[in-house]
């Protein structure tokens, strides 16, 4: 079909004797929404940590756009176009919503060793930040204190921050966690609107959202990928039914 943007080969991570990531292979195509599902403790978040560079892998390689990024730090992976969000909301509560996003624009807009000009008055940066906010429907919240946003808005803000880094690939760790029904509908629409322009790797427990969004689903159980493919095929896969979807579906 199209090009593979992210390729993972034989990735491993052990915490002591526990194999948290056990020989994972993945291929994420450019422009697709790739969902990672699996029961609690399957190692999904650890895998995101490894992909984003927050956690070093024990073995294996990660290729981004054909380049081996395994040895790179999280900062350097961001510069290449791979950004992430966090399972537990991680924003700068004390800054304005706009500044949270402007900070990410600033990170890729020349040197930040500039000591004199007021950063919050850099129109070019603010314009790009505003554009990212508009894309996640938060334009009217720009001057609010980020900590005062509702939970769902904070999740939207996190996606705006990831977009503002200029990333081509977003690693989203349970973007719907803790959101209410309406909030989650906004976020699902938002993610759908990113299909094509961005590549999304998504961890999510909300199966309705996963199967309505994803082009490709990989199932992780005990650190292993037990199935990977189109949603319908994965849903029908006997191992997946047994290990994960099974109880619900049969019941």
């Amino acid at each position: 079909m199209s090009d593979v943007l992210l390729k993972v080969e034989g990735l491993r991570k052990n915490f002591g004797a526990l194999k948290v990531t056990d020989n994972v292979d993945l291929a994420v195509e450019a422009g697709e929404i790739h969902a990672l599902i699996g029961p609690n403790g399957a190692g999904k978040t650890t895998l995101i940590h490894q992909l984003s560079g927050n956690l070093k892998s024990d073995f294996g390689k990660i290729f981004f756009d054909g380049r081996d990024i395994s040895p790179l730090s999280m900062q350097n992976r961001v510069h290449l176009g791979l950004a992430r969000s966090f399972q537990i909301t991680s924003i700068l509560d004390g800054f304005s919503v706009l500044e949270n996003v402007a900070m990410a624009v600033q990170a890729r807009s020349g040197s930040s060793f500039r000591f004199f000009r007021n950063a919050s008055r850099e129109d070019d940066i603010n314009a790009q930040a505003s554009a990212a906010l508009a894309r996640v429907q938060l334009a009217d919240r720009a001057h609010r204190r980020a900590g005062s946003l509702s939970h769902g808005e904070k999740r939207q803000l996190e996606i705006a921050i990831a977009l503002a880094t200029g990333a081509r690939l977003l690693l989203l760790d349970e973007p719907l966690a803790g959101t209410g029904h309406e909030e989650s509908a906004v976020l699902v629409d938002l993610m759908r609107s990113l299909r094509g322009s961005h590549t999304l790797v998504l961890i999510e427990h909300d199966m309705d959202a996963v199967f309505s969004l994803a082009d490709h689903v990989s199932v992780l159980v005990y650190g292993r990928v037990i199935a990977s493919g189109e949603p319908a095929a994965v849903r029908a896969h006997p191992d997946v039914r047994a290990a994960y979807l099974g109880e619900e579906e049969i019941a």
Partner: protein
């Protein structure tokens, strides 16, 4: 008057960015003028009362305000609690003492030497200290501060434990301007005002924004592509150099240089000044240092156990407001304590 305090939660004009988000602009508007204006009027008070000691105390306030201001850059805006900051005051003071013992009395040369020595010391110790964080950072800066202290104690060529008495104050282009306490006072006030403006600019700049962001959430900053270390190290060096400038001024005021300036108790006092006035606020350290020196002077009149009273006041201020006295003032004036 407190119009500016109302947080703009209502609809905002789409493109105009009005509030540089450092702190709510309540105090930031009028308070600096008030404080610097009051200080500028102190010589009149000295003249009116005929008590020239007032000028001496006020100069001391300004010098420690400068040192506290520098500590606040790393502690208040970077969450880097240095317990060895007094070492930089000592380095600045010794730059004056050592050079003048070789007959070099020119203020600008002494300042250049102080900045170079403190910058180098901060670069090396900061490079090592910033590999740690939290309590370990406090401990390692304490250790470096004490190393500097004991180094000067054992350096008998320059007085060792006894320090160096200076024969006079520094000269500026050969002129003995600073001999007058009044000139020294206004000189120090000018330096503090310049440092205040510099600090205000730094904190709002790109650099300052990264520093503040890292203080609040280093993981988030890495996740958008920043490497905090070099920003923190730069702030650490700037803070050290400004503290050394305070040391140059202190040596000039008291015309005496000793390792006692560098003890960890001195570093602790600087931390107290910053916390007392309000960490991470621009004016806080100036207010904190002023109040600290005032209490030191006033309470010491009543009892030699004056630090007990200071402790009590510190407890009350910290319990009363997280932002120290400047936060307290904001609350008393009815502003929001966000």
């Amino acid at each position: 008057m407190s119009e500016a305090a109302t947080p703009s939660l209502g609809p905002v004009s789409s493109s105009v960015i009005d509030a540089p988000h450092v702190r709510p602009p309540l105090l930031a508007q009028s308070a600096p003028w008030l404080i610097f204006g009051l200080f500028a009027a102190v010589p009149l008070l000295a003249l009116a009362t005929g008590d020239s000691f007032i000028l001496v105390v006020a100069t001391r306030m300004l010098i420690f305000a400068l040192a506290a201001l520098s500590l606040n850059l790393i502690m208040g805006y970077g969450a880097l609690v240095s317990f060895g900051h007094a070492a930089y005051i000592g380095i600045g003071a010794y730059a004056v003492g050592i050079l003048s013992s070789y007959g070099i009395n020119d203020l600008l040369l002494q300042i250049a030497a102080a900045l170079a020595a403190s910058g180098l010391f901060a670069l090396v110790t900061g490079y090592l200290s910033l590999r740690t964080s939290g309590v370990y950072f406090i401990m390692i800066t304490l250790a470096f501060g004490q190393m500097a202290f004991f180094f000067m104690v054992s350096l008998s060529a320059f007085g060792g434990d006894d320090g160096i008495s200076l024969s006079g104050r520094s000269t500026l282009f050969g002129a003995d301007l600073l001999r007058s306490n009044l000139v020294l006072f206004y000189g120090v006030l000018g330096v503090l005002a310049a440092a205040f403006l510099l600090m205000r600019m730094l904190v709002a700049s790109r650099f300052g924004r990264v520093l503040r962001g890292t203080r609040d959430n280093p993981t988030r900053m890495r996740a958008i592509g920043f490497s905090p270390f070099s920003f923190q190290l730069t702030a650490y060096v700037i803070a050290g150099m400004i503290a050394a400038l305070a040391g140059v001024l202190l040596a000039n005021q008291v015309q005496f240089v000793s390792p006692a300036y560098m003890t960890w108790a001195r570093s602790g006092e600087l931390i107290v000044m910053v916390v007392l006035g309000g960490m991470g606020t621009l004016l806080g350290p100036i207010i904190g240092a002023t109040v600290f020196i005032l209490l030191e002077d006033v309470l010491a009149h009543f009892s030699e156990h004056w630090k007990l009273g200071l402790g009590l006041i510190l407890v009350l201020v910290v319990l009363g407001s997280r932002d120290g006295m400047s936060g307290l003032a904001r609350r008393l004036r009815g502003g929001s304590d966000v």
